[in-house]
């Protein structure tokens, strides 16, 4: 009697494990030449920033997988107009894998993914997943924090400026991580924020940088898409920290460093998994450990002791010994938000909507 129950259980177990296995590996291996990855970009490849770096990543992936034929679509709006773009990639280019390169595509990826269950979608910076939709992003706040350490050491006046694009959690998170770094090396320093309400407007970015320099800032950081801030800083002989890619060509003497992307490290494993048939839907949020984000080489103005300090902190972040958002962290009013010894959860980091102590400026409502 007992034995027969065990037998039945065993059969069930085998059956279900097979079933579970077939779900986990829902994609059969696809020959590299048939993946035809499609990349949907928010901006033009020529923006010299966000989209430019994604395309650099794509090129590296194409070079790494002989026979891979990728297709890009540039300047795709974050609205319903992205739906036919993705459908065309699937139907005409026979894309089995689609990378959607910006947050605003989220709902449209969801919609198209339902219609084409055999296509795999990877959505950059979103949080909605499905059987055939995964999400991916880099922990850019890690190198941001490290660049803050540099800014805090280099500033003389203790006034640091920050040109920021839009008041969304991603940008706020960066400002916070940067400020935590600044205050670690320079507890009295402040970070003044100017909002552009635009990702891309070189004229306005430059004007914002000049406004910050005129108000007494001696180090600038930025979160926008062009090198205009770096150029304004070079002209005024003010130190600057770039973003997206190494911006030292815009500020050869004043560029300190820059938090930079390496999208190849994010794209490449996905292509490999799809080719091997091992891809499964998950939330990828890779940091300096995986190489998805990093710091650009230091400029000539960064002193040796600062280089050593940053190298040590970087090693601690990579080994997991230290997390950026570890208490005590106070908000602007001085209230303790994260207690001593506590570390923020990924979900809380992801949805940050408040500024830490030391930031001057406010999150527009």
């Amino acid at each position: 009697m007992k034995k027969s129950v065990l037998h039945v259980l065993f059969v069930f177990f085998v059956f279900f494990s097979f079933f579970a296995f077939s779900i986990a590996v829902n994609a059969a291996p696809i020959p590299v030449a048939e993946i035809n990855p499609g990349y949907v970009y928010i901006g033009p490849v020529g923006d010299g920033g966000w989209t430019y770096m994604q395309d650099e990543g794509r090129r590296a992936v194409d070079a790494a997988f002989p026979g891979l034929k990728s297709t890009i679509v540039e300047s795709v709006g974050e609205g319903p107009e992205s739906v036919p773009v993705m459908e065309r990639l699937i139907r005409q280019n026979k894309s089995k894998l689609i990378f959607a390169g910006s947050f605003g595509y989220m709902d449209y990826v969801e919609e198209v993914a339902k219609k084409y269950p055999d296509t795999i979608f990877m959505h950059v910076s979103g949080y909605k997943r499905a059987d055939n939709v995964g999400t991916m992003f880099g922990r850019m706040y890690q190198p941001r924090y490290l660049s803050g350490l540099v800014a805090g050491k280099v500033t003389q006046s203790g006034n640091i400026g920050y040109v920021a694009a839009h008041p969304i959690p991603e940008v706020i998170r960066m400002i916070n991580a940067f400020t935590l770094g600044v205050r670690k090396t320079n507890p009295g320093a402040t970070v003044k924020v100017i909002w552009l309400f635009s990702w891309f407007d070189p004229g306005k970015e430059k004007e914002a940088a000049k406004a910050l320099i005129d108000s007494g800032c001696d180090v600038l950081a930025m979160h926008a898409d062009t090198g205009a801030v770096a150029q304004a800083a070079e002209e005024a002989k003010t130190y600057v920290i770039g973003y997206n890619n190494d911006m030292s060509q815009y500020a050869p003497t004043m560029h300190l460093t820059a938090p930079i992307w390496d999208w190849e490290k994010l794209f490449s494993p996905i292509v490999k998994q799809v080719a091997d048939g091992t891809w499964k839907s998950e939330a990828i949020w890779w940091g300096m450990k995986e190489g998805a984000v990093d710091l650009a080489p230091f400029g000539p103005a960064v002193p040796e002791d600062v280089r050593k300090l940053v190298a040590a902190e970087k090693a601690d972040i990579i080994s997991g010994k230290q997390a950026v958002f570890t208490g005590p962290i106070k908000d602007q009013s001085g209230t303790v938000k994260i207690k001593q010894g506590e570390t923020m959860s990924d979900d809380d980091i992801w949805s940050m909507g408040w500024f830490v102590e030391g930031v001057l400026g406010e999150v527009p409502k």
């Binding site: 490849v45 923006d47 909002w195 891309f200 004229g203 005129d214 108000s215």
Partner: protein, 309 residues
């Protein structure tokens, strides 16, 4: 005053690209041709200005090249709208798309490069004047050239024979034709020169203001110039006022943020647009008699000599 001064300096600086584009379009529209392709022409001007500065080794070569490229685009627009008599709105939109796309394609290899560009040059003596000296005479030669252009255009349009001929072609081409004026030729000429000036506005972005090229770097300034023409009711002096106002509001809100003031920035940013809408309302309500007098009566209407009504 010391705190306000940088705002005015920045207002002139960031208003200048819009001013060039607006002046160019006023010239073209006064002759009766509407060119909505400003954004595209500005981008082509920005790219060619940057590329020519890079290869020619001088920002002046870049600016000259930008004018030439703009003039060529103006020639295309003139051919389409004057000779072929096609819909000018559609042609203009096509020019915007063409300029945006072509400059992006041709500009790929220039991404990430920088040029020394045109530096500011204070005019001796008068730049020492209090306030005005800092605001108007401590800029760069493109700014000074735009001052001259404003007054030159004022004089030309209202005080010279060719200027009157130009306005006649835009107001009443039939009468101009009866007077023996070459209407098509006049329209060709000022569409070409106007587009050249528009391209100079674009080149100001890539050669003087930001000394690099980035795709779509004019970021909508061409469209602002289109609206600015109406805001200025086709008057060059008012165009300067409007352009500086627009540049001023933009820098003002950025500097307010830097000063820590709690004024909602989006509110300030919409001010110039709001004022343009108000002026448009004013015109369409028919109340502004002077306004409707300034508008070229035959704007956007192709002229055929053989046609009789």
């Amino acid at each position: 005053m010391e705190t306000l001064l940088p705002i005015f300096v920045a207002a002139v600086r960031s208003g200048t690209p819009i001013l060039y584009a607006t002046l160019g379009e006023i010239l073209t529209e006064k002759a009766g041709v509407m060119n909505l392709g400003l954004e595209g022409i500005m981008l082509m001007g920005a790219l060619s200005g940057f590329a020519a500065s890079l290869w020619g080794g001088s920002p002046l070569i870049g600016l000259a090249a930008a004018f030439a490229v703009g003039a060529c685009l103006g020639l295309i627009h003139a051919f389409l709208s004057v000779t072929l008599g096609s819909n000018q709105v559609v042609c203009g939109l096509a020019m915007t798309m063409f300029g945006g796309g072509a400059s992006a394609l041709a500009g790929r290899s220039y991404i990430g490069m920088t040029i020394p560009g045109l530096d500011s040059w204070s005019i001796p003596v008068i730049s020492k004047l209090p306030v005005i000296g800092r605001i108007f005479f401590s800029q760069d030669i493109m700014v000074y050239a735009s001052f001259a252009l404003v007054f030159l255009m004022m004089f030309f349009l209202h005080r010279t024979r060719p200027g009157m001929n130009l306005r006649a072609a835009g107001d009443n081409p039939k009468a101009a034709d009866a007077m023996g004026l070459p209407v098509a030729g006049i329209r060709y000429l000022y569409t070409v020169i106007g587009a050249g000036l528009v391209a100079l506005g674009g080149a100001y972005m890539s050669v003087v203001y930001n000394k690099f090229w980035a795709e779509g770097m004019t970021a909508g300034r061409g469209w602002i110039a289109v609206a600015m023409v109406i805001f200025a009711i086709w008057n060059p002096l008012q165009a300067a006022l409007g352009a500086y106002l627009f540049g001023g509001v933009e820098t003002f809100q950025l500097r307010l943020q830097a000063a820590g003031a709690r004024v909602p920035a989006p509110l300030l940013m919409m001010l110039p647009y709001l004022m343009t809408i108000l002026v448009l309302l004013f015109i369409s309500a028919g109340k502004g008699h002077k306004v409707s007098l300034s508008a070229p009566a035959a704007l956007g209407i192709p002229f055929y000599r053989e046609e009789r009504e």
